[in-house]
C-alpha cells in the first residue's frame, strides 16, 4: 500500500514539475496549452519515473 502511494506521489511530483516546465517554455498560454502540457507531462512523468528507477536501482 505504501509502495503504491510512494509511486503515485513520485509520479505526481514529476507531472507537476514537467507541466510547469512546459508552460515556461512555450509562447502565449491559454487553456489548450494547459491541457496539452498536462497530457505531455503525464507521459513524460511515467518515462522519468521509469528512468529514475532504472538508474537508481542498479
Amino acid at each position: 500500500m505504501t509502495r503504491a502511494l510512494a509511486a503515485g506521489g513520485e509520479l505526481l511530483v514529476w507531472w507537476a514539475a514537467l507541466t510547469l516546465l512546459w508552460i515556461m517554455l512555450i509562447g502565449p498560454v491559454d487553456t489548450l496549452e494547459w491541457v496539452v502540457g498536462a497530457g505531455a507531462g503525464l507521459v513524460a512523468a511515467a518515462a522519468a519515473r521509469g528512468a529514475r528507477r532504472a538508474v537508481g536501482d542498479r
Binding site: 516546465l21 508552460i23 515556461m24 517554455l25 509562447g27
Partner: protein
C-alpha cells in the same frame, strides 16, 4: 546589425570555428571534447542571434541543441570508448575546456536574462543555461570515465579502433 548580432557572429567566428577545426582533425581524444565545446558554443550563438534579430523562435533551436549536443557527445564517447582508452585526453586540458564552457555559458546567458527582463522568457533562458552547463559536466565526466576504464570494456566497442 546591432550589438547582439555582432556578438553572435564574433562567437561563431572565434568560438565555433576553432572548435570545429578541433573536431575535424586529430585523434579521438581531441575530437570528442571539441565536439562538446562546439555544440555548446553554437547553442550560445543561437541565443545571441535570437536576441539580435528579435525573434523569440530562435531560442527553441538553442534549446534543442542544448539537449542534442551532450547526447551526441555521449554517443561518440560510447562508440569510441576504446580509442579514448588507448590515448586518453590530458586531464588539465579537459579541465580547461570545461571551465571555458562554463564561463561562456554564464557570460552569454546572464546578460541575455538581464536584457529580456523578468518573465517566462527569462526562465526559458535560464533553463537552457542550466541544460548547457549540465551537459558539459555530464560529457566531461563520461570522457574521463571512458579514458580511465582502459580495455575492460572491449566487447561493446570493439571494431572501432582501426584508426591511426
Amino acid at each position: 546589425m546591432n550589438g547582439w548580432t555582432a556578438a553572435g557572429t564574433a562567437l561563431l567566428l572565434c568560438g565555433f570555428a576553432p572548435a570545429a577545426c578541433g573536431v575535424a582533425t586529430g585523434r579521438a581524444r581531441r575530437r570528442v571534447p571539441a565536439q562538446n565545446v562546439a555544440t555548446t558554443f553554437l547553442s550560445l550563438v543561437f541565443l545571441l542571434l535570437s536576441q539580435g534579430f528579435a525573434r523569440p523562435a530562435y531560442v527553441d533551436t538553442a534549446l534543442m541543441l542544448s539537449v542534442l549536443g551532450p547526447a551526441g557527445t555521449l554517443l561518440f564517447v560510447r562508440l569510441l570508448a576504446d580509442q579514448l582508452a588507448d590515448h586518453p585526453p590530458g586531464q588539465r586540458w579537459l579541465r580547461v575546456l570545461t571551465a571555458v564552457n562554463y564561463v561562456a555559458v554564464a557570460a552569454v546567458v546572464l546578460p541575455l536574462c538581464v536584457a529580456t527582463g523578468p518573465g517566462r522568457a527569462m526562465v526559458k533562458l535560464l533553463v537552457i543555461g542550466v541544460l548547457l552547463a549540465l551537459g558539459c559536466r555530464v560529457a566531461t565526466r563520461a570522457v574521463q570515465a571512458a579514458a580511465a576504464m582502459g580495455h575492460g570494456r572491449g566487447a561493446p566497442a570493439e571494431g572501432m579502433s582501426d584508426d591511426r
